[in-house]
């Protein structure tokens, strides 16, 4: 996908996507009739009050959940009709996830945590290990590979999580409040790492955030309210990447 392409095929195309949860007789409309497109290489911030459906939307984009109605097309393929195996393969090779709680496996070292993302692909252990070292180096943690998550600061843990998310060179990076557990300075560093690495790999980034500073770094801010996207999409100043 070329940046100069005047009408690029979107990475994501959402058509009337709704997600409802059945809860003890009642229904929760987490996402309501969302229609949107995300272009390749885009860096989108998703903002909105708590419970507005941001996480649910991200899970639909990442194939962790299927919409109740409507369809989510990823690179032209309808994810809502894909089987578990296909969705798993997409998650493994095409999507990278970063979480607010870092979600590192506490009993594994930083290097092993990164390797977990590579394990399903098989291959030689030595190759995996050198790949892991390169990834840790890219997030500035080359010397911390032997440390358990508990020995790392929050920012360092999130760097490990970013290295893990990028291990399979995904087309799409999906981050759910990646700075939510960090102080603002560390959060800014993390966003810097996340966006610059994504720009390098021409990745599409979707970041859920409450943080205005983080949102300001994205190309585009999508605001959600009560499960819907609030119309007035604003173009944020594009400070990262060449997309416009």
């Amino acid at each position: 996908m070329s940046v100069t392409d005047p009408d690029p095929v979107p990475v994501y195309e959402l058509r009337d996507v709704s997600k409802t949860y059945e809860l003890g007789g009642g229904r929760v409309h987490a996402v309501r009739e969302v229609t949107a497109t995300i272009a390749a290489g885009d860096a989108v911030a998703v903002a909105g009050p708590s419970g507005s459906g941001k996480t649910t939307l991200l899970q639909l984009l990442g194939g962790l959940d299927r919409p109740t109605s409507g369809s989510v097309l990823f690179e032209g393929r309808d994810m809502s009709t894909m089987g578990d195996g296909d969705l798993g393969a997409l998650r493994l090779r095409t999507f990278g996830f970063v979480f607010q709680q870092f979600n590192l496996i506490p009993t594994l070292t930083a290097a092993q945590n990164v390797e977990v993302a590579l394990a399903p692909r098989g291959g030689r252990a030595a190759d995996r290990r050198s790949a892991v070292l390169g990834l840790l180096d890219s997030v500035g943690l080359a010397s911390r590979g032997d440390h358990l998550p508990s020995k790392l600061s929050g920012g360092e843990q999130q760097r490990v999580a970013i290295a893990r998310a990028l291990a399979n060179e995904p087309h799409v990076l999906l981050a759910d409040e990646p700075t939510g557990n960090l102080d603002s300075e560390t959060g800014a560093e993390i966003i810097e790492v996340l966006l610059s690495l994504s720009a390098e790999g021409r990745r599409t980034v979707v970041v859920v955030t409450h943080d205005a500073d983080v949102a300001a770094r994205a190309h585009r801010i999508v605001r959600m309210h009560d499960g819907r996207i609030v119309p007035s999409d604003e173009l944020a100043p594009a400070t990262i990447g060449s997309h416009s």
Binding site: G62, L64, D84, G85, G88, A89, L90, R91, L92, R93, F95, F97, F99, Q101, N103, I105, V116, A117, A119, P120, R164, N168
Partner: protein, 318 residues
């Protein structure tokens, strides 16, 4: 006591801890039980009076257990005379040739001698602390039980660890799912870890069980079992409730207790053995004791005989 038959009876010369065994003379001699002597402050050279006759204490003996111990022992003939029960005994000791024959001999005696109650050494052991055979079984069972408990504990711990790890790791599974791990891979990983954990638990459990069993074995002191002077190492050892006396489960001796006045007649090789006189508590009819020695297992006592026929052979004098 039948002083002529020194090796079979309530005690043997070896059990005389102070002084000596009965002499061959007709002198009125008594040997007292150790605990009786210390209780009554008796020593060698002191006298005891039985039925108006004075007996000089010539020795102090360590007498065995099994309800067979008396306070004062005198020569059989003298006792029979004193009690006016000439020719009568209350206990006959029979020694089988082999431990295997004990049960047969006991059964035969019981059949042959009307009203006789036969107490084998094993029965005696029962009175002490259960037979050593049981002790051996107990030790074995304890070991098995410990092993089973260990295995169960290991299994339980492993299961609990697995369970708690599964519930604690829900988030982890979510992460793995997001990372593209297939359900199958996650299940394989978790069960692999659980198996490793279970194997480790089993190893630890078995080690603990074996160590526990060894500890029990090491802490349980030796019980040396003796009956009629025989001493045997009974293998697994347990503390008996009593200090000195102990009974061998594999002894070849059979003690025959007939009702008072019973007069079993050894057919081939009987002879009188030491008889007890219940000094402190022995208000019951005085008694003598006949014993057979070196009798073959098939040794029989004639049923219903009330009088000991071969008194001269017993050679016991009161």
């Amino acid at each position: 006591m039948d002083a002529k038959n020194r090796e079979l009876g309530a005690f043997t010369p070896g059990q005389v801890t102070e002084g000596r065994y009965f002499g061959s003379s007709d002198a009125r001699e008594a040997i007292v039980n150790e605990s009786y002597a210390s209780r009554e402050g008796l020593g060698r050279g002191d006298t005891v009076t039985l039925g108006g006759k004075t007996f000089t204490i010539v020795g102090i003996a360590q007498t065995p257990l099994g309800g067979q111990s008396s306070d004062v022992y005198v020569k059989l003939g003298q006792l029979q005379e004193l009690a006016d029960r000439t020719g009568r005994v209350n206990t006959v000791y029979v020694r089988a040739e082999s431990a295997d024959d004990v049960a047969t001999v006991a059964a035969e005696i019981e059949q042959t001698v009307d009203g006789a109650s036969v107490t084998t050494a094993e029965d005696l052991a029962d009175r002490v602390s259960g037979t050593l055979v049981d002790a051996k079984n107990l030790a074995g069972k304890l070991g098995t039980a410990l092993t089973i408990v260990g295995l169960l504990a290991a299994f339980l711990i492993a299961s609990l660890l697995t369970l708690s790890s599964v519930t604690k790791r829900v988030r982890e599974f979510g992460t793995l799912k997001a990372l593209g791990w297939s359900q199958w891979r996650v299940v394989r990983q978790v069960s692999g870890e659980s198996l490793a954990q279970g194997a480790l638990g089993a190893v630890v459990g078995i080690a603990l069980g074996v160590a526990g069993a060894a500890l029990v074995g090491a802490l349980a002191p030796s019980l040396e079992a003796t009956v009629g002077g025989a001493v045997e190492d009974a293998g697994p050892r347990f503390i008996g409730p009593f200090g000195q006396g102990a009974v061998s489960a594999s002894t070849t001796d059979v003690a025959l207790e007939a009702p008072v006045g019973g007069r079993p007649r050894p057919r081939r090789c009987g002879s009188c053995s030491p008889g007890g006189f219940g000094g402190g508590r022995g208000r019951g009819p005085p008694s003598g004791t006949a014993a057979t020695r070196g009798c073959p297992p098939a040794h029989r006592l004639k049923r219903g005989e009330k009088r000991e026929r071969d008194r001269s052979r017993s050679g016991s004098r009161l």
